[in-house]
Amino acid sequence: MTAFGSAENLVLLAIAAPLVCAALLPVFRKAPNLREAVTLVTAIALAAIVLGLLPVVEAGGRPEARLVDVAPGLSIAFKVEPLGMLFALVASILWIVNSIYSIGYMRAHDEPRQTSFYACFAIALGSTMGMAFAGNLFTLFLCYEALTLCTFPLVTHKRSPEAMRAGRLYLLLLLGTSMVLFLPAIIATWFLAGTIDFTPGGILAGKASPLVVGLLLALFAFGIGKAALMPVHFWLPAAMVAPTPVSALLHAVAVVKAGVFAIVKIAIYIFGIETLSLGGASDWLIYVGSASLLLASLIALTRDNLKARLAYSTISQLAYVVVGAALAGSTGMIGSGLQIATHAAGKITLFFCAGAIYVASHKTEISDMAGIGRRMPVTMLAFLVGSLSIIGLPPFGGMWSKWLLVLGALETGHAVAVVVLMLSSLLSVAYLLPIVARAFFAAPAAEAHDSHGGQDGIREAPLACLIALCTTALLCILLFWQAGRIEALLQGIFTGP
């Protein structure tokens, strides 16, 4: 029991640490080196705390911490389970890498308002941890809204009219969907089940007809706008006006993953696999998710702006997770969980590369990037690694999540999903690999010489950026070998206590 006592404290510490960091940062606003040290130390400490929880959860423990009861049935409580463990692990480890990258990027750009940038970032991480460890829907919702609010200053960091417009869309769409759909879904769940605690096996078994379950699922799936399921995806491409580290960690990892994570968590712990599969209540979501998956891939093909293309690719990859959850089978759920981790590593690499290219050459359009691979070979190799992982080729982590998702689709007999998953892999080849090919093999366009003074001046981005993008590229490879351990962890959802 003593081990569990300390695990409880670790849970609270994981949420508190980033918040304390955010409070400390303004103190050091005049000393940038110290300030960045605070961020880095907190990031490392957070990863250590989360890693400290890992063995407990792997051993079948479910550390809990209860803060306050807001009202009967409404409490702020945390409970660590395998899926949240994995999400927290991904977010906290990538925060370290992202902080290193941010330092390089923000300084190379000489960006204003860096203190508030790092502070908001830390609060965002605290909210993400809160979501990962949430023990009930209310806590999840609370942290979800906090995450939306604290990332608003990050999206509008440039303060340009364009950034403010994007920020407004971001805020209205995310707050709007969460209030108008997500909150009623929570209230309805409370009304139907009499509780909103995340419980293994779900809480809605026998409490709602398949039709009601399907409707409720729709409220959740579209209410959690962060999952960017079409048609509530508009905010994501718009949010790309943010500085690249924000796009990288938040809009490839923390925020969007928080969305799909919430959907999977709700599918497992609120609905329960059996309730979802009963009467085909979740079948419609397979089709909607598949449509989102393919459409976003097709739109990605048409985008010339690198970050916009990556954003649509993210929308498509997030739909994988949603489809995996909608399959309503344990293999699909585990595939979804794994996809959260592997796509995070792959996509953050791609964003790091996009940012590195921007810092080094101020290029944002893919058509301008011909031949840039010869100037920035390390960056573009990392880009290749990230792309291959997202496409789902061995020996990169992305392969396993795709594998499990296809397996899950076959298990539950959804042939359509299998076809869609295959097709989408081909599409991702089509929208990612040409970027690499053009960078290495195409000759630089002649006009680029005129308008940008040629590519002679372009060299690799600052060291901090390079370290970060190489680390995440290596992580993609590492995930290929470590997938078994993650799968075993997630298996605990269905076999654990």
Partner: protein
């Protein structure tokens, strides 16, 4: 000591009444303020002691001048008005330190003592309406509070304050007339003015009197609805709040409409509810339609206001809509939501008007266009306003969420699904007007005229921070607010036919 505690009900009214007279005699503004401060700080002690007595030992009945009810005037404190007395006196006590500097700036030196006199009269009236168990005595106190309110509004610096005060005078007088006609009906029917006695006599009234009873109810409802600014009887409120001196607006917005709502609840549930079955009358439907209209129309108008005080005034109308919605739904959860929103909205709106008052004190303007970048100059004021603003939206973790949760649960218990969506959709409109202010305050470049602006002195800042903290506190720990509200709601519904 025993004798003092048994006279608490009358002290609650007599102390501010005498204080008002004394304040006028003192002539000097600073002396009058000191007296006002002392009186305002005694009030919550008295209402707290009474509330404690009620919780421990049930309703208190106090026969004024030892004339036993129903012949004499009875002051009757039960859970419901004990709760409202506590609210009114606490708001007065918390916000009064703000008055010193604000009034010194906004009111002519020779009128300051009169201003405090009028405030204490208004306090007397509001507490009197709440505490009395006599329908006609309530009218007297209603007029005391109204007449003093007209003066408070007319003391505003802007000459349009006179028009606003006159307008309120006309509307308020119509409301009072309707009220008194309604009381006349009741007197004709029962020969009594004591509310408990009226209720008992109505309950055994012969069926042919039902029509007169409904007529009385209609007059009372319309009369009080004018006072509480129920849409569409609200036209006096925006101007009154916008042009009254800053601190008068703070006090009135947090208490005056709340007391009128209390009076309506008292008549509906404790007087008529005993005799009439509301299911036979369209009262819930009328309240539902009007409150939904208020929630949307007033919020949408708020979006287009350029004057912050006016914007908040329209927001108040929308929030009154929420409270009335719960009365229309009229089950335990919804009524709890309504009652608790009396407190929650009082805290949030007082905080916001205090922030606006502080801005006026430093900047001399509350037009949104003049306040670009005020967040950087007055960080504490803006942060507190931001928190209260989030409360208005109903963000989880703030008091506003709690009220809406109970209202939504109440609507669901009735099976009124669409109402839940309307409720949350209307919060979305408030996102727009709160977000608009935050954007100007925090994300625009600082305007030149704000060069000298800084946070107000502690006496003004502290009430603001206390109320902002209360907004969060009542969103997390609801033992007191919801606890008493739920008991009061059960008490009200328990007496219904």
């Amino acid at each position: 000591m025993m004798s003092v505690s048994s006279h608490l009900p009358v002290l609650q009214v007599v102390i501010p009444l005498l204080g008002g007279v004394l304040a006028a005699l003192l002539r000097r503004g600073s002396l009058a303020f000191a007296l006002t401060l002392a009186v305002s700080w005694i009030m919550p002690v008295i209402s707290g002691l009474m509330l404690y007595q009620v919780i421990e030992g049930g309703p208190i009945s106090y026969a004024l001048g030892s004339w036993p009810p129903p012949w004499g005037i009875e002051y009757r404190v039960d859970l419901l008005n004990g709760f409202v007395l506590m609210l009114v006196s606490t708001i007065g006590a918390v916000t009064v330190p703000f008055a010193a500097r604000s009034v010194a700036l906004e009111i002519d030196a020779r009128q300051q003592a009169w201003f405090y006199c009028m405030y204490l009269m208004c306090l007397t009236g509001l507490l009197g309406v709440t505490i009395t168990g006599d329908a006609f005595n309530a009218f007297v106190f209603l007029e005391i509070s109204s007449l003093s309110t007209y003066v408070l509004i007319a003391l505003g610096r802007n000459r349009r304050a006179l028009v606003a005060a006159f307008r309120y005078l006309i509307m308020g007088t119509i409301g009072a007339t309707f009220y008194v006609i309604g009381v006349g009906f009741l007197y004709l029917l029962t020969g009594s003015l004591n509310m408990v006695d009226i209720a008992a006599r109505l309950a055994v009234a012969p069926p042919e009197q039902a029509r007169a009873m409904v007529a009385g109810l209609a007059f009372l409802t319309v009369g009080i609805s004018l006072k509480l600014a129920l849409f569409p009887l609200h036209s006096w409120l925006p101007g009154a709040y916008a042009y009254a001196p800053s601190w008068a607006t703070v006090f009135l917005s947090a208490t005056a409409t709340k007391v009128a709502i209390y009076l309506l609840i008292r008549f509906l549930f404790s007087v008529f509810g005993v005799a009439l079955d509301f299911r036979d009358l369209p009262i819930p439907e009328i309240f539902l339609v009007l409150s939904i209209a208020a929630m949307f129309i007033a919020s949408i108008i708020a979006i287009y206001q350029s004057d912050l005080k006016r914007m908040l005034a329209y927001s108040s109308l929308a929030q009154i809509g929420y409270i009335m919605l719960g009365i229309g739904i009229a089950n335990h959860a919804a009524l709890t939501g309504s009652l608790v929103h009396l407190v929650n909205h009082a805290a949030m709106k007082a905080a916001l008007f205090l922030a606006v008052g502080a801005i006026f004190y430093r900047v001399g303007s509350v037009r949104l266009d003049d306040l670009a970048g005020i967040g950087r100059k007055m960080p504490w004021t803006t942060s507190a306003a931001l928190i209260a603003g989030l409360g208005l939206i109903g963000t989880p973790g703030t008091a506003g969420f709690i009220s809406k949760w109970y209202l939504a649960v109440g609507a669901l218990e009735r099976g009124w699904w669409p109402l839940v969506f309307l409720l949350v959709a209307s919060s979305l409109v408030s996102v727009v007007y709160v977000g608009r202010v935050i954007e100007v305050a925090c994300f625009r470049p600082t305007a030149d005229r704000l060069a000298e602006a800084k946070d107000p002195p502690l006496s003004m800042l502290l009430p603001l921070l206390v109320l902002a903290a209360a907004t969060v506190y009542f969103g997390i720990d609801t033992r007191w607010s919801v606890g008493i509200a739920a008991d009061a709601a059960a008490y009200l519904l328990g007496g219904l036919r």
